[in-house]
């Protein structure tokens, strides 16, 4: 049912009225800026990403290898102990096939869905790793536990940012058997 179908009192107000200045409004765009000090842990982490490496930090007390690294163990509440390089491979802990953008606008018909995922990095403690994106993968092939590998920007383009990793992709291309299984599953769905 449309708004016009109702008998309403008062004067209808449209966004065009605001744009044309027919109603009194005031607006303010805050001009705020921050420059967060990265400190020791994040600083080294980002510097190593620029080098194309993922670095973690150990706690000798609870025996964890922490990614992202930190200079203190938040559980033992003591300084962490040692830097340790981890691999740029890992397994998918959880993921989503996302059909909307950062600003909640819907992705266009020719834009593939975004696939955010938490990757447990090989070499880090169970459950620790990187929240990143998956790509070069058929959404139907993704499952919890999928082995993945980082795809890096070219060295000259890296800036010391989490985006120095473009995305993670499956470590291996789907096997023939997996492809066949998938094909059968699709066919079954179609019949239903």
């Amino acid at each position: 049912m449309k708004l016009e179908d109702y008998e309403l009192g008062g004067t209808p107000l449209r966004s065009s009225d605001i744009k044309k200045g027919n109603v009194l409004t005031t607006s303010w765009e805050p001009n705020l800026a921050y420059a967060w000090d990265d400190g020791v842990a994040i600083g080294r982490y980002l510097a190593e990403l620029k080098n194309g490496r993922i670095i973690g930090r150990t706690c000798y007390k609870c025996n964890r290898i922490m990614i992202p690294p930190r200079m203190f163990c938040e559980l033992c509440f003591r300084p962490s102990d040692e830097w340790v390089y981890c691999k740029d491979t890992g397994i998918v802990n959880t993921f989503s096939i996302c059909h909307i953008n950062w600003d909640a606008s819907r992705r266009g018909p020719n834009e593939p869905p975004l696939i955010p995922a938490v990757i447990e990095i090989d070499g880090a403690s169970k459950g620790m790793g990187i929240l990143h994106m998956l790509s070069e993968v058929d959404p139907d092939d993704i499952k919890v536990g999928l082995k993945v590998k980082a795809v890096w920007k070219n060295p000259g383009e890296r800036t010391g940012s989490i985006t120095d990793i473009l995305y993670f992709k499956p470590l291996r291309a789907p096997t023939k058997r997996a492809k066949a299984t998938k094909k059968r599953a699709k066919a079954t769905r179609k019949r239903k």
Partner: protein, 383 residues
């Protein structure tokens, strides 16, 4: 209800103009680790945690969610008070008073050096309809207040400048302070005019740093330490936000917050019963205005007490022995935390070369800064 609440541990990083070597997490961890070691307790044994933080100062929305790691509060009862540290400490005080929490840790920090346009940030706190369209600097709001205060009390800009000289001089003896200096009131009056009657040196400069305090009930406090510092009274108050309707001469918020704390502490004659005070001096005149609001003297008498040395480190009522905000640095929501730090060190007899002899009762007072009219007062003792 438990009878008394004590501070059993405190830790700080000290205060610096910039801290590019550490993230805010690393900064806070240092203060928290020191506080827990000072209290002889591990965070796993602490029942509740509070942080004093404001999202716009952090540059995060829901900044409270980023607090647990660096204070040892992962999977523990934790919340944030978006106000000054003293307001957060008041909440911790009440939590212990309920009997449901034996120990509560309270944290506050400043990473002012990470805020790249503080004037715009504070301007964003002004009323968007009545005040912001005029695009006045926030310092002008304080200048309006200073003009009215000087008018009502016959105080002079030179007397306000003497506050700066005293406090920056005191800061020379405080290893935590960022802005210690030997200057004279003439230097203040010769510094660049900002919004008259305020000159550049009348205004506290910002600093970074963190403080963590551990509160405990009486039985726990006595088990943990031989020198518990008791919270005898605490109060807070907010005046109308409407700039057009405020009492510009007097700091009514501070007077009423102090009255609340005095009642709780059973103090009837503040100037006789309080040995020393750390009070808000984010602008030079504020120290004098707040002295009067705290009933240390009648309106118009504060400058006289200053000039006769009553508020000097060797005076009868030393004020801002630490150096205050002018000497230590303006710490945003950690302002009250730095004052509590000074009170605890003085009352424990750990204040080094700036130790005031034989002190038993101290008062801390804060103001949340322009454009607020919010103040809080805490009274601590070692008795």
């Amino acid at each position: 209800m438990t009878e008394r609440v004590a501070i059993v541990g405190i830790g700080t990083t000290g205060f610096r103009p910039i801290t590019p070597d550490v993230s805010y997490r690393e900064l806070i961890f240092e203060a928290a680790r020191k506080a827990y070691t000072d209290a002889g307790i591990e965070p796993s044994e602490i029942d509740g945690f509070i942080t004093a933080a404001e999202d716009f100062l952090e540059g995060y929305s829901i900044a409270d969610e980023y607090c647990p790691d660096q204070i040892g509060a992962v999977l523990k009862p934790t919340h944030t008070v978006p106000g000054d540290f003293l307001q957060a400490m008041a909440t911790g005080f009440m939590m212990v008073k309920t009997g449901a929490f034996r120990t509560v840790a309270v944290e506050a920090h400043s990473k002012a050096s990470n805020m790249k346009n503080i004037s715009e940030l504070i301007g964003f706190a002004m009323d968007p309809i009545y005040n912001r369209p005029l695009r006045e600097t926030p310092h002008a709001i304080s200048a309006l207040e200073m003009t009215r205060y000087l008018f009502e009390t016959c105080t002079t800009p030179d007397q306000c400048a003497q506050v700066v000289s005293k406090n920056m001089g005191n800061a020379m003896h405080n290893p935590y302070a960022a802005f210690g200096a030997e200057i004279e009131s003439g230097d203040v009056l010769n510094s660049e005019p900002v919004s008259l009657p305020l000159h550049r040196l009348d205004i506290a400069q910002h600093a970074d740093g963190a403080v963590v305090v551990v509160l405990a009930d009486e039985a726990t406090a006595r088990a943990l330490t031989d020198v518990p510092i008791w919270v005898e009274g605490i109060g807070w108050c907010t005046d109308t936000p409407t700039l057009e309707m405020r009492d510009w001469g007097e700091a009514a918020y501070a007077r009423l917050a102090a009255d609340m704390a005095y009642r709780m502490a059973g103090i009837t004659n503040p100037v006789a019963e309080i040995d020393f005070a750390e009070i808000c001096d984010e602008y030079s005149y504020k120290e004098l205005q707040h002295m009067e609001a705290l009933r240390f003297c009648m309106p118009g008498e504060a400058a006289h007490l200053l000039e006769t040395g009553v508020t000097a480190i060797d005076g009868e009522l030393p004020i801002n022995v630490s150096g205050g905000a002018l000497g230590v640095g303006h710490l945003f929501e950690a302002s009250g935390a730095h004052k509590i730090l000074e009170l605890v060190e003085q009352l424990r007899g750990e204040a080094g070369t700036r130790q005031i002899p034989d002190v038993a009762v101290g008062l801390a007072q804060t103001w949340r800064g322009v454009p607020t009219a919010t103040g809080a007062v805490a009274i601590l003792s070692n008795l």
